[in-house]
Amino acid sequence: MKRARSHPGWWAFIVHRVSGIALALFLPAHFLALGTALSGEARLDEFLRWTDRPLVKAAEWILVMLLAAHLAGGLRLLALEFLPWREWQKALAAAAAGFAIAAGLLFALAR
């Protein structure tokens, strides 16, 4: 597709959509993992120990970033669609990105 795309609104959209897809795919797995607690604490503990490996930890970090990015992008959209229009709203894309990165940093540093 050869459309002109290198502007903030486009990037905001693609991040929002891709993060949404990733989260939608992750959610069932997340629910199933938590559901193992039904079989008792031991099952959940077993699963949580399985997640104690670097690749999984990295994936978790990415998911947290994606969640934060999707949230920030979503707030930007709600602002653009429901608040009176102002020109600086274009800068909301940058603000959203900043928020997502901040959240990711917090998560990484919290470990």
């Binding site: 597709m1 502007h7 486009w10 959509r17 229009w85």
Partner: protein
């Protein structure tokens, strides 16, 4: 100094043909296309009219972006001496660089982009406060000349065949805010739903590229609010 120009030849099926065009100072892309047609290949089909940035007829895809060729300086876009010209995207091709604009205007009509009068010549003038909120909203979008650049730039138009597109929705918004117009019940229904404003994802390519600096995104955001009645209220108001 020469420019290497690739121009689309043919219809939906076709190929890019290469031309070498002498480079000149203050040259516009329209100058380039005109040179090709007049001095190299008279069979090249393209559109233009006013050539001074008023009519929008010369809109086409220049190096991947829809622009007005008469208002695009070669220096600004042909960084490495190369130009790629194609007809406007998202529209059927008539021939070479000419796009078929019928679908664009059909959607304009489907969005009820026509004025619905509520008075006759026998009535007094309508008194519309120019600085009122509604009139200012309408005025922000009223300068559209239907060039099709926004339509060609919009990814949602590419992904959703029924999507009315930025220009049609922008025009509908100006009429929604026109105090003299009486067609809002039908109009708001026409611009709602998956074919209407609710499919806009605020990509803002339209706003980014509009040669008249309009913001269809802003107008469509207004329509999203204005169509609340279509979703929940009585018929469309």
């Amino acid at each position: 100094m020469t420019l290497r120009v690739r121009a689309w030849r043919g219809g939906a099926e076709g190929r890019f043909q290469e031309f070498e065009v002498p480079r000149r100072e203050s040259q516009t892309v329209l100058d380039v296309v005109t040179h090709i047609q007049r001095h190299i290949d008279p069979s090249l089909a393209y559109r233009f009219a006013c050539r001074v940035g008023m009519c929008g007829s010369c809109a086409m895809t220049v190096n991947g972006k829809p622009r007005w060729t008469c208002r695009t300086h070669v220096d600004k876009v042909a960084k490495d001496g190369r130009l790629e010209l194609a007809p406007l995207a998202n529209l059927p091709v008539v021939r070479d660089l000419v796009a078929d604009m019928r679908e664009f205007f059909d959607k304009w009509a489907r969005a009820r982009g026509q004025f619905s009068p509520t008075a006759t010549r026998a009535d007094r003038f309508a008194k519309v406060e120019p600085q009122g909120a509604e009139r200012r909203e309408a005025d922000a979008g009223i300068e559209c000349i239907g060039c099709g650049v926004c339509y060609a730039a919009c990814d949602v138009v590419a992904w959703n065949r029924d999507y009315l597109g930025p220009a049609a929705l922008n025009r509908a918004w100006t009429l929604v805010n026109d105090a003299r117009d009486g067609g809002n019940a039908e109009r708001l229904r026409a611009v709602a739903g998956d074919a209407g404003c609710h499919s806009c994802h605020t990509l803002m390519s339209c706003t980014e590229l509009c040669p008249k600096q309009l913001s269809p995104t802003r107008s469509i955001a207004g329509l999203k609010r204005a169509t609340r009645g279509v979703a929940f209220g009585g018929e469309g108001e």
